[in-house]
Amino acid sequence: MLAPAVFLQRLNFIDACYIVAFSMFIYGMSGLTGPRTAVGGNKIAATGMAIAVIATLLTPHVLSGSATPWLIALGLVLGTAIGIPTALNVRMTAMPQMVALFNGVGGGAVAIIAWIEYRHRFGGLYPEKTEIPTLFAAIVGSISFWGSGIAFGKLQAILPSRPIKLPFQAFINAGLFVIAVASAIVLASGTHSQALFILGVLVAAALLGIMVVLPIGGADMPVVISLLNAFTGLSAAATGIALNNTAMIVAGMIVGASGTILTNLMAKAMNRSVPAIVAGGFGGEIAAPARGDTDRGPVRSTTPDDVAIQLSYARQVVIAPGYGMAVAQAQYAVRDLEKALEAKGVRVLFAIHPVAGRMPGHMNVLLAESQVPYELLKAMDEVNPEFQRTDVTLVIGANDVTNPAAKNEPGSPIYGMPILEVSKSKSVIVLKRSMASGFAGIDNPLFYEPETSMLFGDAKQSVSEVTAAIASL
């Protein structure tokens, strides 16, 4: 009789709230893994977050002091005022940079908190267990903030998306890493000039974040964002240990762990290792192409009317979309084309390469937006055997993921990456703005193959013209 009451008394209300909150994170996240439960899962996780925030505000002393509640309110209001309109107005095509941005501010918050933690707790007074997690959080949070900032800049085209390389890059990076860790060790062992060294840690880590992401080309960006996402998670978990906060430990760590898995899945899809990507992006070797561009042979260009005829008389058409479709916002035009072809009795499939676009699942999101039926989207492994019985493959703004050099040219920087084997279909039509090479900066032999023809122009306009031509046939 008495036992439950005693138990409840001992169970701190705040801690109980945290347990509820992180259970909801885990439950919500497992919901996110299925298309039907995902929306609910996200809402459950968001509710968990609200509970965690309210519980924290109810913690004794958190609102003590005359200015404290106002300052907290100010931060919350500013964050909400910036966050909601940004999230509601961003276009679906700009999603990758939004994720980079939200990830970056999370990392920034971690770095600031670690800094303040440091100023307070360790004047040589508390050389305790919290010191190492705090320093870890300072380094990783700072890398994540600045690295994500660069990633955002590249995806938003504020910075050039091509790899930017400095001489001795690897040495500089290694040097920065050593400086960051050495400053951290000095801090952890000595008691002198903390203020200076913690800034040393933060600044060296910041430069490291910038230097690591700058040389990474567009094609590797999704992997990097996922990696930085995992980093922010880990640093949040470390902050949780420093602050004795269970909700932060659990939430941070599940993000860190899941982000690591996701990063690996994505790197695997490109047949690259994460260290290789971090060490330097695609296109590092573009100066020495495997073969001169001259012996590629001629390129055949075609017209929307011809494409329309070819498509209408096909039995099976595969559409392979890429980043170009996202840039041109062509997803609705593509949906119309698919409907027009279906009306003619043509079987249409969509070939989705795991790293098409700038995020895994980027194409799926866009095509779902334009309401292409989920069943028509086929993953690479499913669709590759289909190409043999496909009459026409329409490549819309996808370059590197269809590049046969990945299979045939051992000298190519993307050699070994699994590709959509579009050239196995009877004919290939490539929609492309011009003959410029893709993000990876690699020439694509597909364009020069005899069964390939090119339809130059803006993807959205080209697709609409083809659709109109089909309707008038």
Partner: protein
């Protein structure tokens, strides 16, 4: 809480993270990354917990920024994820009544080896 308890929680949480993610379809990678991205906005709690201990203008300003950052991370993350997932919702199409995954109303062709739904 003792350090060892915290590390135990950390390790268990890592396994939960691995477990949850290992069965996600490619389609949901972006919303998932975006959703987990929102969850690490939990660092907001750190800003809230430290504010009352802050001294001086610099620390107060920094913490307001940290709280703002954390809030942007959380709110932006969850809203964006919600928008993205909303697009996966199936619109009530009249012919979508029969089975959900595999044999959805393809034109009547000989079902070739590829149409087995989620293999591999």
């Amino acid at each position: 809480m003792s350090t060892i308890t915290e590390i135990a929680i950390l390790v268990l949480a890592a396994f939960v993270g691995f477990e949850v993610i290992s069965k996600v379809p490619n389609t949901l990678h972006t919303p998932l990354m975006s959703g987990t991205n929102a969850i690490h906005g939990i660092v907001l709690l750190g800003g809230l917990l430290l504010m009352h201990e802050a001294h001086g203008v610099l620390e107060h300003v920094l913490l307001v920024i940290a709280i703002m950052f954390g809030t942007i991370n959380i709110i932006g993350g969850f809203f964006v994820t919600d928008r993205m997932l909303g697009m996966f919702k199936r619109k009530p199409e009249p012919e979508a009544a029969p089975a959900e995954e595999g044999g959805v109303a393809e034109p009547k062709q000989v079902p070739s080896a590829g149409s087995d739904g989620k293999g591999a």
